[in-house]
Amino acid sequence: MKFKGQEKQSLLISKRERQGYFFTAPFAIGFFLLILFPMLKSFIYSFNTFEFDGSVKLIFCGLENYRRALMVDTEYRQLLLETVGNMALSVPVILVFSMIVAVFLNNNFHGRSAFQIIFFIPVIVSSGIIPMLFENDIIRNSIINAASAAGDKVSSFDTSGMTTMLLDFNLPSTLVKYLMYAIANILEIVNSSGIQILVFTMGLKAIPRQLYEASSIEGATGWENFWKITLPMIMPQFIVNITYTVIDAFVNNTNPIMESINTYNYSKFDFGYAAGLAWMYFVIILVVLAVFTGLSNLFSRRYQ
């Protein structure tokens, strides 16, 4: 037996549901037609080799493409290990770095908008077509590297002196090593933090001022404010950033594996092998991302 009110409510929910489908329909349809369906096709490609004689022909070759990637193509295996290792090291540094910069940029001070423009520049120049053009510009690179040879170093630092000093302070050696890694790769880290800084800035802007005012009246310091207000309030942005940083480290076009996949796909037209490489890579990205989001969920739950 149903009550009238209950029926009405269930009707309301189904209306909300319908509206939800309505709003998300463009993406759902597009995803099915333009991504999922081609993806399945590409999965089939990865078990085939391509032959061109007037028309495109698919020849079934079983697991040959995967075997070739793992057993024959020694470069791929090595690149894979390198990419995963680099990513695991750089993601925490990028997150902490972009958080610090965003907090610095959040207060009002002279020249803030100039800094905001400057910190957006990496988004423009560090992905897509521009780094590809710079890569083989011998003359530009020689000018940049001449500077580092002459002493005013930009892209790499000699960190051995600093390492000895910090070790003398009895800091744990893994921590020191990690710090030195961050310092030595600062240029790369700055270049891949553009979006993250922007996302954090958006989150920080949305925190109501009254929260800080109230806690200041209660006598909280800026440091306490950061841990008690800022960090919990930008948890959503934190999770966006973790996800994006992991993804960006993997599928950025300057990543060596993406480069090799793109070469096989767009220049050598070895579509079957490219599909095999890409699918294997995709599975690895999924696993790593699952690990990172699992960790961050754990962290945020413990934090709250």
Binding site: G20, L34, P38, S42, L105, A146, I195, Y244, F250
Partner: protein, 297 residues
Amino acid sequence: MKSKKIGRAAVMLFRYFILIGISFLILYPLLVTVLISLMQTSDFLNSAVRYLPVSPTLGNYKTAAIFLEYGKTLAKSLVLNVPLCLLEIASCSVVAYGLARFHFKGNRLLFGCVILTLLVPSSIYFTPFYFSLQDYGPFGWNLLGTPLPLFLMSVCGLGVKNGLVIYILRQHFKGYPKELEEAAQIDGAGSIRVFISIMLPGAASIAVTCFMLIFVFRWTDPTYTQIFLPDHEYIWTKLASINSSMSLLPGVSGDDHYFRSILKNTSIVLYIIPLIVLFIGAKRRLVESIETSGLVG
């Protein structure tokens, strides 16, 4: 009181110290690019010149503008990109609103799909999609060489890195209190009305930022356009051709590395000028929208 003042000044100084240092890291490579764009070939051969050219010249910009056919290709690129980006920001915010505010079966799955579009290497779905374009759909249309696939992707929120924008906007829409919608519904406003008159004004500043992001992504990563419209001459086509074309301009040998480098660096400056202009414009709009909306977060 006095010690507090000193402490604040110290924090200020520290902040400037760090920010200026990092800014230098970011600007240095760009500065080299700008300086090269002001050089002449003789400056490369002169060992006394490292950064500053002997007699800076703007002549390179003229040459690069001729090479890129700057006015024509820039206008053409903008005419293609601006509508695409507007479509993308519209579809992204609608989809994000749907994902953030409505509970329906498959919501989480669909959101997973959004993330999936970000992390699938694009070549996985691109090649089959491209092959299928020759006779697309039940009527066997030939869509190759038309901008239709690009518009199709934009309408569906599948443009360059659109997943990130959907993600950001969804996170923002999730932040609104539930009562806001309930109150609006009691007043008789439908969910489309709620979206247009409550959600969007509140999201104005974030939407402007997202539009900027979309535009920058599309501008700096023209892979999609290059694949779907290979025969058209856009500004990125010209830019990419610097690496490949043998003789760049009549009267200059293709082996002239110095000239190639100068041309490349100058063209890159010309290429990112529209983005800087957009950023400054968007920032002004951003400040206004925060001041006028009064509903942030």
